[in-house]
Symmetry: C2
Subunit: 743 residues, 2 copies
């Protein structure tokens, strides 16, 4: 198969995806923007979010520039040329690696920014549509989210395809070695993603926790009340944390996974070719398979997205409408996957190969579905885990916390078994495909299957903050009850999709990581000119590397959680300052009718805090694997010259294992606490208020205990947990890029 044709298809479909994103954005932007009161709130959110993102991007670009310079100097001038390098001069190698890094970082910034740009414009339009039609509101929110989703996936594909085309055109590197030069793209993307997710995650939860503790708990005013000075910061947070952060996260997932799968595909095809198992579409076809499969997935996702609509009477559960669209996308993606497998993975001497790999893809899809169901079981109040937490709230906050931590720790076992089964099944499908050493490629194909519908999933994810914001705008502009009911219905669906996509993100991180560290070993073997076939935990050096990997996860989570805690305390102090001069009756604040809170100061405080606090944990993740690799390389003089690379691999793998489990613990524990509180608010265990004997209403302490759990869960599920997904992938990409330095 000709490289040009395949590249043409990939780049063509990526551009089609971008056009679709543009068209959806236009469609959303043409919708009406509602009353002046609503616009005022929306504009405040817009301003805050854009200001934060601008400042955040400035910091990130600065950091990325430093890393880029170090990459260029390190590869160009410090590391000496080796026999097995894919290009002839160190400067050329440095140039390609640095260019990929810069492009990856830039695209990630753009994807995050544009996605958020659209979503902060979709929220007011969703709110306005909700005044008349739930169907319109649903479609605006989903399509607004889809702009993000398509943009992310299409740009990531375009970047990899384009870089490949560039290297192919301007250098004489062998085709199958090109992926080794563009691994920097994934690293650039994850580098930005980590800071975006961390900064956004700290921002959103600091504002949320601060607003809740001082507004709801101390001043006794409802959520999203305009008298709370932190409320705009809270709404801004939904955008910068949930939209921009998650967008950057999935951008790098798909980018890293594309390149990793290409490396594995190239290595598989070369081995198979030598052993007499040529492919009908040639070595390049196998290498391009991940990109083609992804491209087909984009088309499937577009069709799925535009097909979502409610029934005429608007009686159906909006979740059902979203699910129907998802199933359409999945089925189409799988048809495309089967076609691509047959086209590119067919080997005349191993006739079973193509459908074995197709089945691996199906396993990937099934894994993502299983993750979604498990997440539901542990975080929705229809099931016993959340009910258990609610019940434990009756004896106070301490037992609520104990129960929630119990649920969080417990929830890891089912995903573990699912991941284990998926990895082993796809490995054995690959191994029994008739091709030699194809087991690992089987696991890679499972990952591709899982990520095939990433654009749709991401659209559902961004749907969450858009509906959340729409609800906030409706609440703050004091719309009639029936409108609130509509936005509440959408908001609750949004909460569900946010939780589900987090499950999906962990699952994909797990599979992708396994793929990426196989790519790492492949790469080390390439550069060292010597097979690296083992990461031997029984070697004390590797064991210590692994121990450090696990400890890194703990320390990083601690820093993320602590950042939220201290930023929230700053917000609390600011709100208290603004309330200090208000008149009080029996210690209850009597708000004057003309009370105008200063939203800007809260936005400002949390912006500065988030930016300051994101740097240390982010750098920790970047520096640790490099330090381990270099220190072990210099100080350890073993007979095994790959020992430093092996120790880094141990760090990566055990860090990944711990990271996945800790992320599940944090995400699901946090989600379960959140819904235990909501369950009590539906009236369980006495509901939000108790009616005393004398007929007056009093706060229900059971609800108060559940609020404590909910607040503890906030930084778990929206800061540390999602940042861990990115940490896992950043570890993989950073080691991929720096592997040559450790040998």
């Amino acid at each position: 198969m000709s490289e040009a044709l395949l590249l043409g298809i990939v780049i063509g479909i990526s551009i089609l995806g971008l056009i679709a994103a543009w068209a959806l954005a236009q469609w959303v932007l043409r919708r009406p923007t509602g009353s002046e009161a609503m616009q005022k709130i929306s504009n405040a959110i817009k301003e805050g979010a854009e200001a934060f993102l601008r400042r955040q991007n400035r910091t990130i670009i600065l950091l990325a520039a430093v890393v880029a310079a170090m990459l260029f100097i390190g590869y160009g001038f410090i590391r000496s040329h080796r026999e097995f390098d894919p290009v002839a001069s160190t400067v050329e190698m440095a140039a390609w690696i640095t260019l990929s890094f810069v492009l990856g970082a830039l695209c990630s910034v753009i994807a995050g920014y544009v996605g958020m740009w659209v979503s902060i414009r979709s929220n007011i339009r969703t709110a306005t549509a909700a005044l008349t039609s739930l169907n319109d509101a649903l479609r605006i929110a989903l399509r607004g989210g889809a702009v993000s989703g398509l943009l992310v996936v299409a740009m990531s594909l375009l970047g990899v395809g384009g870089l490949y085309a560039l290297v192919s055109a301007f250098s004489d590197v062998a085709e199958t070695q090109i992926p080794l030069l563009i691994v920097g793209y994934g690293f650039g993307a994850s580098f930005v993603a980590l800071f975006a997710q961390l900064g956004g995650g700290i921002y959103t939860k600091a504002a949320d926790v601060g607003a809740d503790l001082v507004g709801k708990v101390e001043a006794g005013i409802p959520e999203d009340d305009p008298r709370n000075p932190a409320v705009i910061a809270d709404l801004v947070g939904d955008n910068v944390g949930d939209c921009a952060g998650r967008g950057a996260d999935l951008f790098e997932s798909t980018a890293a996974e594309n390149i990793g799968a290409m490396i594995l595909g190239a290595s598989l095809a070369a081995t198979a070719d030598k052993a007499g198992y040529g492919f009908s579409a040639g070595v390049v076809g196998v290498m391009m398979f991940p990109l083609i499969a992804r491209a087909f997935g984009i088309i499937a996702s577009i069709i799925g997205i535009v097909s979502v609509r409610m029934d005429k009477e608007e009686k159906m559960d909006p979740m059902e409408a979203l699910n129907r669209g998802y199933y359409i996308a999945v089925i189409l993606a799988m048809i495309g996957f089967a076609g691509a497998s047959y086209w590119l993975l067919d080997s005349p001497n191993a006739p079973a190969a193509w459908w074995h790999f197709f089945l691996c893809g199906v396993i990937g899809v099934m894994t993502s579905v299983a993750f979604v169901y498990i997440t539901q079981y542990y975080t929705e109040y229809r099931y016993s885990p959340v009910k258990r937490i609610a019940e434990a709230s009756v004896t106070g906050p301490a037992t609520n916390i104990i129960a929630g931590i119990g649920v969080g720790l417990e929830c890891v076992w089912m995903p573990t078994l699912v991941m284990g089964a998926a990895l082993l099944a796809s490995y054995y499908l690959g191994a029994s495909s008739g091709l030699p050493h194809a087991g690992l490629f089987g696991t890679a194909v499972a990952t591709m299957g899982m990520l095939a519908t990433a654009a749709y999933i991401l659209a559902m994810d961004t749907f969450g903050p858009i509906t959340d914001n729409a609800g906030g705008i409706v609440e703050m502009s004091q719309q009639p009850e029936e409108v609130r009911v509509k936005t509440d219905r959408l908001d609750s669906v949004g909460n569900t999709t946010k939780a589900l996509t987090k499950g999906y993100a962990v699952g994909s991180a797990a599979l992708a990581a396994f793929l990426l560290f196989q790519a790492y070993m492949d790469e080390v073997s390439h550069y060292a000119g010597q097979e690296m076939h083992s990461v031997n935990l029984a070697n004390p050096v590797v064991f210590v590397g692994s121990l450090i990997g696990a400890a890194l996860v703990f320390l990083f989570s601690a820093m993320a959680i602590r950042a939220v805690g201290s930023a929230a305390q700053a917000i609390i102090a600011e709100v208290r300052r603004q309330y200090a001069k208000l008149p009080r009756l029996n210690d209850i604040i009597q708000f004057p009718a003309d009370f105008k809170p200063d939203y800007g100061s809260c936005v400002d405080i949390v912006t500065r805090a988030a930016l300051r606090k994101m740097v240390a944990p982010g750098l920790l993740v970047v520096v640790t694997p490099i330090a381990v690799g270099l220190i072990f390389k210099v100080f350890i003089t073993e007979t095994n010259r790959l020992v430093a690379a092996e120790a880094v691999a141990g760090l990566l793998m055990v860090g990944t294992i711990c990271g996945i489990l800790t992320a599940l613990f944090l995400n699901n524990g946090g989600g379960a606490w959140d819904n235990a509180k909501k369950y009590i608010e539906t009236g369980a265990h006495g509901g939000k208020y108790l009616t005393l004997k004398d007929g007056t209403k009093a706060k229900n302490p059971t609800h108060g205990a559940a609020v404590v759990g909910d607040t503890v869960g906030d930084p778990f599920k929206d800061t540390a947990g999602p940042s861990l997904h990115v940490l896992i992938k950043l570890l993989s990409t950073i080691t991929l890029v720096l592997a040559p330095l450790f040998i």
Copy 2:
């Protein structure tokens, strides 16, 4: 060196240790037992503790009998004889393995029981002594604790030495293969230890949490108030959880480590011998080195213990007195260690070997000291982590919990670096000793160094619950203020020693685990007749095994924490029932002067709950590695026939890494919360009570928030955390015993 002489020394010193324990017990039992009121309370504690331990032992013995039968049948009749088995018939092999298991289990039960028997008799004598002399009280509590400590260490040594002598006398197994047959001793010990620690840990914290929440928080009565029906259960819990549990824990540590180190020593000596590096004391001398070093450590600990005393004016900090004794023990132990190294590890062709190994031992000691300091930093309120938690309590329980979890997650990094440095340093000291392949033995010797003073450490540990109980007896029998001051001083020292010994236990678990899985690989190589030199994480089967190991830690912790939560809820319900009929004024209970709470019902409820809840998590730990080994052996048909054994090794190693870090998180997080509360009680952030403008006292909500954290920390630090230490070691010993089945 003659085997008989070495065995004679080992067995002789073990018996000496037992005699010393007996003499100390006699010394303690001769002290006066105080007033009738005090005796009544002490007897109630005694009764409850003995009843629980009897019932717990019945359950454990039943479970152990089932395992013993399965071991005998599995080895005797299901597994077929292999070429490389150390004995000729399967039944003989089954008999030795089962006998070792039964003996190990039995000794562990006895050590736990006798230790507790003495400590529940020491508490009243400590309380009585406190009426007159702090010095006497200190010495009674320490010597009471030392009975436990010496008994545990001496019995574990006697068991291993005795079993070795038995096998040597009644079979014709080659000397260096004997340790392979007696690995069951360690498994038996850990099996009992796991259930003892789990059952005791659930008991103590369910009672504690229940008593606190309903007594202190709801009814507003002080700690250890006789009107609280759960108070006796709480005091019983200190004994069954902290004494009996920790005793069983360290019993198995030393037993497992002794056997593991013997296996490694035998393997090192045999290799060295073949390569022309004979030892002056022969192969047997190297193999016996761990036992001899341990024996010398017992003598050092005895001298350390009896040398502890206060200054004449009783002005000094009792902690200082304990530390002085510890340093005496450490210095003596190191002198003995140096002597044993020179005597048994000297090789004429590698003259540097003996002192290289001696330095490894010094590294082990330094590691334990470093762990102690790190634990202090993270859990004492002189330092910033605990202060941070106290400060976060000002904004309520949610921020208190967030801060505490932050501290717990953060605290793992320093121990990780210390462990890493210790492992690598001792590995390289061993590797550079001049002997071939001696690196791993170096890490083993570091472990022995760390465990040399185990008896002293254990004495300090049991000192904790004895002084805690003494304080309870003084409080409940309403002794004058000056006596309380004395017991409070001792109690606060006891809290410190408990926290420190937990740090020591984790550190030793980490080093011992690395030793034990080297022994595992050695053993697999033996039985398979083929070197197992790698645990390759890059193999998907091994990766999945590792993932399961990590998830096991999470699930186990969840079950332990949940057990405490639900048992505490049962206690709360019972206390509320007893209080239901009491008269109330403004919702505050007015206790009638003749109110007699029913202590027995609370003791009974928590006994039943702890026994019921300990079974599932305990069995989970036993069943998981077996299931992974057997399933992977049957279903996976790789070319590598060691793959199932390798997957189990992955489970063991990654489970250990995760287990250590999670245990540190739980222990130190819990300890930090506890002391944050105590810090506030010293008057920080407003203290326990605020004085209102009208002069009345009101509860300080900051203190209330800290109590929530303290309660959450209870099951962390006293149930799940310590049980994880045992889990780590049980995984090691179970895989050691069952390794032949996975090949």
